[in-house]
Symmetry: C2
Subunit: 181 residues, 2 copies
């Protein structure tokens, strides 16, 4: 599995479909999102449980209900979605090899354990730089990129497709689902 | 397993011990490096096979032989070592979910497949930024950081430890081992 999972890819694609709330004021169901992307509803339901737990989406129950973004698309970064789905994974898990030098015997001297290992420091700097990029891009900025190359009709086609879907009863997953006001 | 493996951590620690070639002109054996770090010789031998295949170390056979850096420590980056050990792993493996929209039917329109997916583009930018950091730091820069906090005696202690090791016959691993001139 890659460092950033394919569940993140599906989560982002789903969230992009929620950027325009006019399509479905009550939210879009995981079933509609699944059919729209040719993937199983169960798979997306698991993804939405995580997105909901992370506070990125809100769910509305009942007929015509579904999920909607919990905040403005410019306030949901790619990093937010990655952390919601994959958790906070470090790039590198330092085993403190620096302390095991045979010359140190059973206890490493203070200078050797002081601060972060110089190798680990490089990995942390790389990770920070990567995270900065992922935190800079948002659902809003990606939507703008897609809109720049998609024909204007695409957005209305999606709206029409969603409007034409049968209205089913939606039961939000997980406990403590907030109802939309 | 983390994105950057622990074998990379051991590889970097080993290579740092090879930065000062005066310690052992014929190179340092994996056995000595293993004993110095409290890890098995077999484990380090596998790591050195990869480092050698990537052209980062050269091996000398025979009594007192071992491995030495193939080029100056400022010419061996952390990224070089990561690629040698873990291979060129992308951060994200795009499955082109963008092409599977139900509205497209069996064939996605050209605008949808043009260029890189807007989500993938974010991941590629993050990966490039991460790689830039990893390519900037080298064995020389890490050695300088360690030297700044270690007492001056540490380097001479390592040299003395290596000089005191029994000289054993070293057979370089893998085919095509280049002999040092």
């Amino acid at each position: 599995m890659s460092y950033i999972s394919n569940a993140v890819e599906y989560a982002l694609h789903c969230l992009l479909y929620l950027v325009n709330p006019n399509d479905r004021p009550g939210g879009v169901s995981t079933r509609d999102l699944a059919d729209l992307q040719g993937v199983s509803t169960e798979y997306l339901a698991k993804i939405f449980t995580k997105l909901h737990q992370a506070g990125l989406v809100v769910g509305t129950e009942g007929a015509g209900g579904g999920f909607a973004l919990a905040r403005a698309p410019e306030k949901i970064s790619v990093l937010d979605v990655i952390v919601a789905i994959d958790g906070k994974k470090p790039l590198f898990d330092c085993k403190e090899v620096r302390l095991r030098c045979a010359l140190f015997g059973s206890t490493a001297p203070r200078w050797a354990s002081r601060g972060v290992c110089s190798i680990h420091a490089v990995m942390l700097e790389a990770e920070a730089r990567m995270r900065t990029v992922l935190a800079t891009h948002t659902l809003a900025s990606i939507t703008a990129r897609v809109a720049a190359k998609a024909p204007a009709s695409f957005s209305t086609d999606i709206s029409a497709w969603l409007a034409g879907r049968p209205v089913t009863r939606h039961a939000s997953r997980g406990s403590g689902v907030r109802r939309q006001k």
